[in-house]
């Protein structure tokens, strides 16, 4: 796995591969974190309200923005990989990655603004 992350002189395809794996691992970890958070409900309304207050802190919102970025890049690059897997758009695989990345960054930025404004 160490070789997946040799950063030297690689092209867009490998950056897509790395981001896909990092975001995938992050989303799996998030799933378990999410289940742990839901477990707070068992502690009653007081405990849940305290958690919600914490979740509205800037640090948590920043983590939400990172989560949104992970979901976006994993999902959009997943669509790119699906196309490529069916033999579609092979010539434009790099451009498709840049489109996915750009869309992810733009939507993440939009999401960040929306979250911090509330």
């Amino acid at each position: 796995m160490k070789r997946w992350f040799d950063l030297r002189r690689r092209s867009a395809g490998l950056w897509a591969f790395r981001l896909h794996r990092l975001s995938g691992i992050g989303l799996v970890l998030y799933l378990y974190l999410h289940l742990a958070v839901l477990n707070q409900l068992r502690g009653g309304p007081g405990r849940w309200d305290a958690f919600v207050a914490l979740a509205r802190s800037p640090l948590f919102l920043a983590l939400d923005v990172i989560l949104l970025g992970g979901v976006l890049i994993h999902g959009l690059n997943g669509l790119r990989l699906t196309l490529l897997g069916f033999g579609r758009g092979l010539r434009w695989q790099k451009q498709l990655f840049w489109v996915a990345l750009t869309l992810s960054v733009v939507l993440m930025g939009w999401g960040a603004v929306a979250m911090f404004r509330r």
């Binding site: 070789r3 030297r8 002189r9 092209s11 395809g13 490998l14 591969f17 990989l81 069916f86 092979l90």
Partner: protein, 223 residues
């Protein structure tokens, strides 16, 4: 004009530095031969010096290249260190020398005929022929992150060879070749990273061929 620089070579015991001076139009292989004059025990492979034999593949500053056609001036500016490492994902025999046998065995299993018809404008006379593009250098195998994590993976070169058989059977049994590579360690293991295509010195486009072959299988080619 000459170029003097440090050639940093990854040997089994660690990095070794050689100060070499070569003409400014020299290639990495020339620099290696200059280093070999300092230390005749240095292990590396080469043969043709013109990108036909596929022997001199190595990593230059982390990137897979053929030493014989990579100009030193392109990869090492004056005063800089030029790092050379062996190819990855193939058994290392020593210094910059790797064993290509696992790669050759898989290509042999696919049984790609080495000669193909050449495109020709001629309307009469014998059909001209040429060699297949792949020079079996192993750069694609080294660059592939999947080959780095699954030693059973067929690898880009062998899968591209299978795709060539499927495209131009020349007497080969396409169904048996497809059956061979229609496997979790074959076509379906590729993650579409395209590094193989990026580093291929012979424009084989292994990733494109793998995806094309997948498409054929999805369309029920084997039925």
């Amino acid at each position: 004009m000459n170029l003097t620089f440090t050639l940093r070579i990854r040997r089994p015991q660690g990095w070794a530095d050689f100060t070499v001076t070569v003409p400014d139009d020299a290639y990495v292989l020339d620099a290696l031969e200059a280093a070999e004059r300092h230390d005749p025990t240095l292990l590396f492979r080469h043969a043709c010096h013109h990108a036909s034999c596929g022997s001199c593949g190595l990593r230059v500053n982390g990137r897979e290249r053929l030493g014989c056609v990579t100009r030193v001036a392109e990869v090492a500016s004056r005063g800089r260190v030029l790092k050379l490492e062996p190819l990855r994902n193939l058994p290392r025999l020593g210094d910059l020398l790797v064993d290509h046998q696992p790669l050759f065995s898989r290509i042999d299993a696919v049984d790609l005929p080495p000669i193909r018809a050449a495109a020709s404008e001629a309307v009469a006379g014998p059909q001209p022929t040429r060699f297949e593009n792949c020079i079996e250098c192993g750069l694609c195998v080294s660059a592939c992150p999947v080959a780095g994590s699954d030693s059973s993976y067929w690898g880009p070169a062998a899968l591209a060879a299978a795709a060539r058989v499927a495209a131009e059977p020349r007497g080969r049994d396409v169904a048996s070749v497809l059956k061979l590579v229609d496997d979790e360690h074959g076509l379906w293991r590729c993650h579409g990273v395209f590094e193989c295509t990026e580093v291929c010195p012979a424009d084989v486009d292994p990733a494109g061929l793998i995806m094309g072959l997948r498409q054929r299988l999805l369309e029920g080619e084997r039925q």
